[in-house]
């Protein structure tokens, strides 16, 4: 790569740009103000000829920084896909001519807008460097799988099939997890009529026969450090012997714990051995072999069994689970069938509120249960009373709308599952205590991963103890890069789903270690080679970057300087936005690349009555919303200058104060929704920005500026009309409160 920057600015005259804009003037601006070394116009820049013109300049003239003055960066990206150069797009089509009226008296301001975008793009690229991998990389194809249940075993087997070795760490003395306790599984194959083999034995056999899979039983992960591509894990046995190994990525399939049925005294659990959980019933069936199942209290063959669905679940009662555990309806049907298989005369009654057996297989299995004579009653069970050698079940029959009683031999409680997600790293008190070895853990759960990460030892939880992401489109985006949760630790699910989930998580883990090897980011910026670096001599060790990173990517070294683990980084730039001394930057995205754009825009005199509104827009949602406003013929103020940012979290307040000092009359920040239903692709970026901007009032006060001049909004990608309105309202506001006095 040539060290010298050679800027080529290419201005398109297609799509009406040539007719609406004075491109000769733009060319002059690019040369004189933008200091572009090569400036060319083209009638149709994105066609083969235009692209070739640029490629030729790259190949023959050493042009390595490209400014494309054409359409939005969201358009024609395939055509302008030049390798090993820095590219900046001046959005003259969607950002200028499409959002301005084609009228003579609008022409001057429209041209000014275009001219500014050329200046800004030239300024941006001048301060960009071409990102290259850091050299920290190495390929480690091995996966660490924490948990040896159905999900964990699936992960190891599927990884191995793709050519990636796996190591399973299982806390107990055997593989199989919860499924090993089951007699049979809910069927996952057509015709979905009968319980099927659990598959555990076959999976264990496959693992034992596979030299690519290592298993550590009676072991836990006592320390995990590093990053994707170079994780180091201490695996410790019960007796305390520790082995350390290196891994490329991690799948956390730590499963679930049964809800404690002792919290359901109304159902007589604990008062009689004839009220059991689903798992206890499986043990009884196992014990019975192929013969009729007998109850524990007196050895009597069970002639009637009643299943209480949603026991301690879907309930707001203290100590109950608010969620539905997803598997219990089908599990009860399966167990009712198993009882009937062993004693055809056994009555089985399933008391449910909503029977939840979704999909094709679920509904077939439900129908099969009905066909086999399982009774389904929509009712709410209120109490179970042991009486005269049997159990009296009191319930409200919702169909009869009446209180009824049933007398049965056995009651089965369909209690739910609780995710084994380790310590709650957001519970600071617990975490702090845990880090202090002289004090006892206050938390009554063990860490699963024992990460040495500055932000805590386990995956962050989303809700109800589940270690999930909050994305619908991207379910595997946990907030710790390279560590993927799979199975019921992520959300309630049955075995079939856990197998699917574990396979998906393994895919992501493999992808993550492959990306770590080349230095590329993973979602949402796959392929991005840039990573944060900092100027050490300027660092004040304030720790804001380490604390605010949404992905826990930053640790501290022995000297308490931040340590950026690039393969843990998702490249949002929240650290850059956080840094009060502005020493964090990416090769192609920095305080300068944006700051210089803000400075490069021409600032008219106060009395020109041409205000300037700076719009810092999230590139994933607000910027496309503005593009789509343009596509749909909406119009906004010619005084706006829009700068896309990777995430609102990357916005450093210096941009705002510099813009105010530089004479901008209004500043709008557009980010994503930030509450518990957040839509920020970097989870906390938008939230951080909102918090920082709430403190901008001081800056405004110091400058004696009105607080209306800076506004932060949550914008969805569909908010085209709203973005336009917000910009136009800012123009009106400025008309009301007057121009900024800071124009020099």
């Amino acid at each position: 790569m040539a060290d010298e920057k050679k800027i080529g600015c290419y201005i398109c005259k297609g799509c009406g740009l040539g007719e609406r804009l004075d491109t000769d003037e733009l060319e002059t601006i690019a040369t004189r103000e933008g200091k572009a070394n090569v400036v060319k116009q083209h009638d149709f820049l994105c066609n083969a000829d235009g692209v070739k013109m640029i490629q030729d300049d790259i190949d023959n003239d050493g042009v390595n920084h490209i400014v494309i003055g054409a359409c939005s960066r969201r358009s024609k990206a395939e055509a302008f896909n030049f390798q090993n150069v820095a590219i900046s797009r001046a959005n003259l089509r969607e950002g200028v001519i499409w959002i301005r009226p084609d009228e003579p008296d609008a022409q001057e301001t429209t041209q000014e807008m275009a001219a500014d975008y050329i200046r800004m793009a030239c300024a941006e690229t001048k301060f960009q460097n071409i990102p290259a991998a850091s050299g920290q990389q190495g390929l480690n194809k091995k996966l660490l799988v924490v948990g040896g249940g159905i999900a964990g075993m699936t992960s190891a087997i599927e990884a191995s099939k793709a050519g990636y070795p796996a190591t399973i760490v299982e806390k107990t003395g055997k593989l199989g997890g919860a499924m090993a306790d089951m007699v049979a599984r809910i069927p996952n194959r057509s015709p979905y009529a009968d319980p099927m083999d659990t598959g555990v034995a076959a999976m264990i056999a496959a693992i034992e026969a596979d030299s690519n899979i290592t298993v550590h039983l009676n072991s836990t992960v006592t320390k995990t450090s590093g990053a994707p591509g170079r994780f180091s894990a201490d695996i410790t046995t019960e007796s305390g012997a520790t082995t350390t190994d290196n891994f490329g990525a991690i799948v956390q399939a730590s499963g679930f714990t049964d809800y404690d049925a002792n919290q359901l005294p109304e159902f007589a659990y604990g008062k009689t051995p004839d009220v059991v959980t689903q798992r206890e019933l499986e043990a009884m069936i196992k014990e019975a072999g192929d013969g009729p199942v007998k109850r524990k209290s007196d050895g009597k063959v069970i002639a009637s069994a009643l299943f209480v669905q949603c026991a301690g679940q879907r309930s707001d009662k203290e100590g109950h689970l608010s969620y539905c555990s997803g598997f219990c309806c089908s599990a009860s049907i399966k167990e009712a069938m198993l009882l009937k298989d062993r004693n055809a005369d056994c009555d089985t009654i399933i008391c449910f509120d909503d029977l939840r057996t979704p999909g094709a297989g679920g509904e077939d299995f439900y129908r099969s249960g009905q066909k086999k004579g399982v009774t389904f009653t929509k009712s709410k069970v209120s109490e179970v009373v042991p009486a005269n050698g049997s159990l009296t079940v009191k319930m409200h029959d919702l169909i009869l709308n009446d209180d009824v009683e049933a007398s049965v031999d056995l009651v089965v409680l369909a209690t739910g599952l609780i995710a084994n997600s380790g310590v709650d790293i957001d519970d600071k008190s617990a975490e702090n205590v845990a880090q202090d070895p002289t004090q006892e853990y206050k938390v009554n759960v063990d860490s699963i991963l024992n990460l040495t990460y500055r932000q805590g030892r386990d995956l962050p939880k989303l809700t109800e103890n589940f270690a999930d992401s909050h994305f619908i489109c991207f379910p595997y985006e946990t907030r710790r890069t390279g560590i993927y949760a799979a199975g019921p630790v992520r959300r309630p699910m049955d075995a079939a789903q856990a197998i699917e989930d574990a396979t998906g998580a393994t895919m992501k883990a493999i992808q993550s270690l492959e990306h770590a090897a080349t230095g590329e980011a993973v979602l949402p910026r796959p392929g991005d080679l840039s990573f944060p670096t900092f100027r050490k001599e300027g660092c004040t060790q304030c720790k804001r970057c380490t604390v605010e990173c949404p992905f826990g990517a930053i640790d501290e070294d022995e000297q308490r300087y931040p340590q950026y683990n690039e393969s843990r980084c998702r490249r949002c730039g929240t650290c850059m936005g956080a840094c009060p001394v502005r020493i964090i930057s990416f090769e192609n995205y920095s305080v300068e690349t944006v700051g210089q754009q803000i400075k490069a825009a021409d600032m008219p005199e106060e009395f020109d009555e041409k205000p300037r509104i700076l719009v810092l827009a999230c590139e994933n949602d607000a910027y496309p919303a503005l593009d789509m406003a343009a596509m749909n013929g909406m119009q906004y103020s010619a005084f706006a200058r829009v700068v896309p940012v990777r995430c609102l979290g990357s916005v450093n307040t210096i941009w705002v104060s510099d813009a105010l000092n530089g004479g901008y009359d209004g500043i709008i920040l557009m980010g994503c929704r930030q509450d518990e239903n957040y839509q920020c692709h970097f989870v906390k970026g938008s939230e951080m920005a909102h918090t920082r901007m709430s403190k901008i009032a001081d800056t405004l006060q110091t400058l004696s500026l009105e607080e209306e001049r800076v506004a932060t909004y949550e914008i969805a990608i569909t908010d085209s009309a709203r973005t336009v309105q917000i910009i136009n309202e800012m123009e009106e506001t400025i008309q009301k409160i007057g121009m900024s006095p800071f124009k020099f």
Binding site: G14, F44, E78, G359, P524, N620, M631, T718
Partner: protein, 429 residues
């Protein structure tokens, strides 16, 4: 001639909806060569026709933007639109696939400037809006704002008419090519992921509900378009019969699903979809809204329970456990739901401004007609059978799934396909 390079280490993904895009992107971002074949002019599939997602009530376009960005910069991925697989033969690691390419009549010169759309006069029913409430689009059109490739399409019905010439004349970039012909290409691939998705069950077949007779009986997918500000009503919830505000709205669950006469399976998404759609009515009319949900079981499974609870807590939403017997129209155009509330066995006859049928989903491809033997179940979904070799299902091709589970399924399918091509490439060990 379309030039596509594929080898037996290439993965073919059939279908460019959220599942197909996910499978294709996950595999190609892991370094595999992937060809994605989509029969429509744009990728995006059914999710691009949704207004919001449950349970976050966020917008599908948001995730689509990320996926499109991923596609645009991905050098391992070839996307073929207006392309359909017509024949498959061979075995895992060695499939031959025939793909029929239908002409778009617009080449890659297109800048999506929109001039051809302005020039053309003919209008056709708008598929993107399910042709709902007379929604129209031009004979030269961009299917929707997020269409990818971002390239216009000339409707074949205007070929040979003056409109076609107008479109050509309007284009300054030589992008309109009226001479394009249908072509067939042959691909060699190692593994195939079917992400062919679903279509709404034909509501006309549910005769007692009068979808074909009563203007104010619509389907859930149509209601989704109605709620969308980019839809045919600009986001206004109205009665199709007279355009009046639809404040009293009923949702009928299991319309065509869990029914021996129609689809035997549960379509899984409809309960949550209707719960989501109740929020559209709430957002539009607040306390003036009057919402009824007729259901058999509310399958707001796992963490979705929260969402159900929130909707249940609204005073103006009534849940009625009942399979509606039939719907008739009264003199005011109301759709009147008749049946028996099974909780207490009381008869009802409830008039509503609008009745939304939570329509079931059926697989859009008949897997028995692939030309190669694969194992599908009686509902038409592809089974995870080893006999299927290197052919895998992603998303709703495998079962009735919501978006989140489809993406999970597609991510898993990507790994299964990678296993096959790695075996071919000898890189599995």
């Amino acid at each position: 001639m379309t030039d596509v390079i594929a080898t037996n280490e290439t993965i073919l993904v059939v279908g460019g909806g959220i599942s197909g895009m996910t499978a294709a992107l996950e595999a190609s971002e892991t370094g595999k060569q992937v060809v994605l074949v989509e029969k429509n002019p744009t990728v995006g599939g059914r999710v691009s026709q949704l207004y919001k997602y449950f349970p976050k009530l966020c917008f599908p376009t948001c995730g689509m933007e990320i996926n499109l960005k991923r596609s645009r910069q991905n050098n391992n991925l070839t996307v073929l639109t207006l392309a359909e697989v017509t024949a498959v033969s061979g075995k895992a690691g060695d499939y031959s696939v025939t793909v029929k390419m239908t002409p778009r009549f617009v080449n890659s010169n297109c800048t999506a400037c929109g001039e051809c759309g302005k020039a053309v006069e003919a209008e056709f029913s708008d598929e993107h809006n399910y042709e709902f409430m007379g929604a129209k689009r031009k004979g030269a059109y961009l299917p929707h704002n997020m269409a990818y490739p971002q390239r216009y399409v000339i409707d074949p019905r205007i070929i040979g008419t003056a409109d076609a010439d107008k479109a050509k004349a309007a284009c300054k970039f030589d992008a309109v090519d009226l001479e394009q012909k249908e072509e067939t290409i042959e691909l060699k691939v190692g593994a195939i992921v079917y992400a062919t998705g679903w279509r709404p069950y034909d509501a006309n077949k549910i005769q007692p509900y009068g979808y074909d007779r009563i203007a104010n009986v619509i389907t859930s997918v149509e209601f989704e378009r109605m709620a969308d500000p980019n839809g045919p009503t600009g986001g206004k919830l109205v009665r199709p019969s007279d355009g009046k505000e639809a404040k009293n709205v009923a949702f009928i669950q299991c319309a065509g699903s869990r029914d021996r006469n129609h689809l035997k399976h549960c379509s899984r998404i409809c309960c949550m979809a209707s719960l989501k759609q109740t929020t559209y009515v709430q957002d539009a009319f607040g306390a003036d809204a009057n919402i009824s949900v007729y259901y058999i079981d509310i399958r707001a499974i796992d963490r979705f329970e929260d969402f159900y609870k929130k909707v249940q807590a609204q005073d103006n939403v009534t849940f009625i456990k009942s399979k509606v017997a039939n719907i008739v129209e009264d003199k005011d155009g109301n759709a009147v739901c008749r049946g028996v509330d099974t909780e207490g066995y009381t008869r009802y006859e409830n008039p509503h401004d609008l009745v939304v049928l939570a329509i079931g989903m059926e697989p859009s491809v008949n897997f028995n007609n692939l030309g190669i033997d694969v194992v599908a179940n009686e509902h038409g979904f592809l089974e995870p059978d080893e006999a299927n070799g290197g052919i895998f299902a992603a998303g709703v091709a495998s079962d009735a799934l919501d978006v989140n589970r489809s993406v999970q399924s597609a991510t898993a399918a990507a790994l299964r396909a990678i296993q096959v091509v790695n075996r071919v490439g000898g890189t599995e060990a």
